[in-house]
Every structure is written in structure tokens, then in C-alpha cells.
Amino acid sequence: MDINVDNRANVTIASLDGRLDFEAADTAQVKLRELLGSASGKALVLDGASLSYVSSAGLRVFLTIAKEAKAAGVAVAVGALQPAVQQVFDISGFSKTKIIDIQSTVDDAVRAVTR
């Protein structure tokens, strides 16, 4: 899985590209942790437009990053999830919780973290 980074004003946008399964989870978590470190005092948006698959292990990465972001004072939102990935978020209960802000588009996610 690749993570491409872009910056928009005070928001770091991480585009997740590929499959986030057990094999990819460790590397993705390390990379996102680094981004959290550099986004201190700012905000992080996870762009899910090219994220084709998330397994149980991938969901744990989202929860861990949400926890660490809150501790670091970094606002995090997820945007543009594909329907199959959105379904995984729905079934696992992530969509109903306020722990991770899930928005329909990346622009909405940027707006959500800069409110």
C-alpha cells in the first residue's frame, strides 16, 4: 500500500492507495504516525478514494491513529471512502462513533478538521 502526502494550508492530506490488510498495516501505521508527528498543531485528512480494501487489521490502524492524534492534539478526518470500504466501517461500528470523523469527500474532510 502507498501513502502519498500533500499539504493544503494547515492540513496534511494522506492519500491511501491500495489494500490495507495485515501485511500492509504495520508500514501504514508507522508512516501515518510520522505524519502525525509532523502535523503537530495542524490537522490530518486520510483520503480513501484509492483505498480499495480494508481488513480487520486495517481498521485497527485507523483506531490507533485516531487515539494518537487525539493525544497529540491533531484533528483527523477520513474522506472519500469507496463503498466497499465504507461498508467495512459501517459493519465494525466506526461509522456510528464520533471517534473518527468520516466525510463523503476529501474537501468535506478538510472542512471538518479546520472548523
Binding site: 490488510d21 498495516a25 481488513s55 459493519i91 462513533t97
Partner: protein
């Protein structure tokens, strides 16, 4: 992902922590541990821990016919973890057909007593609890598991209350622990009814944020419904 990326701080497994929460202050096992929800929760804790340790992973697939999407368990590795309860559950799943998390919970439920025994033995080996024979009404032999120093149990309760009352985001491990402890009735062991009532929304929000744990909860709800229906039949 590395094996121990999301354990409780003490490093004991989810199933061990769930069993530890079922031990009362006097070393007796909570009466709720005799309910099917606890046994199925123990099975679920093993399945989730096996996912965390990279032996299993879960994926959502469309259900057959009218069935909704299913959380399917996949075996990634059959390498033993060294934890007897987990390895027993892994052996069953690895040798069986592809099934959903809910189906595996039903399937392994008859083994729950054995999984609990293995988890309690592991806790004894770790020096967390000890086993003592006791007599109930001077005649019946019972076994008690006094907690030795109590650090691990206190720490688990503290982490749970911090998430529920302090508003911190749970680790994946603690999210599942809260969900399974709640559905197994174990939170009643250290939170009052009034506190539980007040915290129910928070429990629902942060508990079992996990594909497998949700499948386990579905299986527990099905089992409770089936048993309730079974009890109603002779009356109707």
C-alpha cells in the same frame, strides 16, 4: 503488523483479561461466567487476539441469498502463539472450512470451558492468580482463584473506566475488551447499575470497534434469542 502491537499494558492477552475480570474479590468466579455470553465472549476474545497476532484476519463478503454481508475469518498463519488457549482456537479455525466470525463463535462455543481453563492456567503461570480448593456448604468442592497482587486486574479496570468516564479513545485491544466485558455482564463487577446506565451510550460507542468482535456479538445475540425462544415454547 507486529504481533504485540495492541495488547493491554501488562501484556496479558484479551482472553486472559476477560477471564480475570470474571474473578470476584474473594477469588470466586462471577455467576455471569456461567452464562453463554461469557463463553462466547471468551471464544471471541481468542479470535480477536489471533487477528491481532497475525494468525487470522477478517474480511467482509456479501452474504448468500437474503443474508447481509458477513465477516469472514481467514487463516494467515498456523504458527503457534505459545498461548495455549489461543493455539487451541487457532487449531480449530485453521483445520475447518471458511466460516464467518459469528459461525466460528457458535462452532467453538462448546470448547469455551476448555479455553477458560487454559487461560486461567496461563494466569497462574504468570503469577497473576492462584488456584485454591475450597468447600461450599462444608461439602461441595469448589475452586477459587484469588488474585495475587491485583496489579493486572486493577490496571484493566482502570483502563476501562478511563475510556468510559474519561473520554479517551480506546486502543483496539481495550475497545474489544469493553465490548465483550459488557455483553458478558462483567462490567457489573466494578461499575454500579446507575453508572452502567449512565455510560451505556459510551459503551455502545467505543466497545467492539472491530469486525470480528461485531460478529461475535451478533452470535451472542442470536444465542440469547434462541434460548429465550426455547424457554417460551413450553408456556405457549
Amino acid at each position: 503488523m507486529s504481533e504485540m502491537s495492541t495488547p493491554g499494558l501488562t501484556g496479558i492477552s484479551l482472553v486472559e483479561e476477560l477471564c480475570l475480570l470474571a474473578i470476584e474479590d474473594d477469588g470466586s468466579v462471577a455467576s455471569t461466567a456461567g452464562e453463554p455470553a461469557f463463553g462466547m465472549g471468551v471464544v471471541g476474545a481468542c479470535l480477536v487476539e489471533l487477528c491481532i497476532r497475525g494468525r487470522l484476519d477478517a474480511d467482509v463478503r456479501p452474504g448468500e441469498g437474503d443474508a447481509g454481508p458477513q465477516t469472514i475469518l481467514m487463516t494467515l498463519s498456523q504458527e503457534p502463539t505459545g498461548e495455549p488457549a489461543l493455539d487451541a482456537a487457532l487449531a480449530y479455525v485453521a483445520a475447518g472450512p471458511v466460516r464467518s466470525a459469528a459461525e466460528w463463535t457458535h462452532q467453538l462455543f462448546p470448547q469455551a470451558g476448555e479455553l477458560v481453563r487454559k487461560a486461567l492456567e496461563r494466569l497462574q503461570t504468570r503469577g497473576v492468580i492462584e488456584a485454591r480448593e475450597a468447600r461450599f456448604m462444608w461439602v461441595l468442592k469448589t475452586r477459587r482463584y484469588p488474585v495475587l497482587e491485583g496489579r493486572e486486574l486493577q490496571e484493566a479496570k482502570l483502563r476501562i473506566t478511563e475510556v468510559l468516564m474519561g473520554g479517551t479513545i480506546p486502543t483496539p485491544h481495550d475497545s474489544v475488551l469493553i465490548g465483550l466485558a459488557s455483553i458478558s455482564g462483567l462490567l457489573r463487577g466494578f461499575l454500579s447499575s446507575a453508572e452502567l446506565g449512565r455510560l451505556q451510550r459510551r459503551i455502545d460507542e467505543v466497545g467492539s470497534l472491530d469486525l470480528v468482535a461485531r460478529g461475535v456479538e451478533d452470535a451472542i445475540h442470536e444465542e440469547i434469542e434462541l434460548r429465550a425462544r426455547g424457554m417460551m415454547i413450553p408456556i405457549m
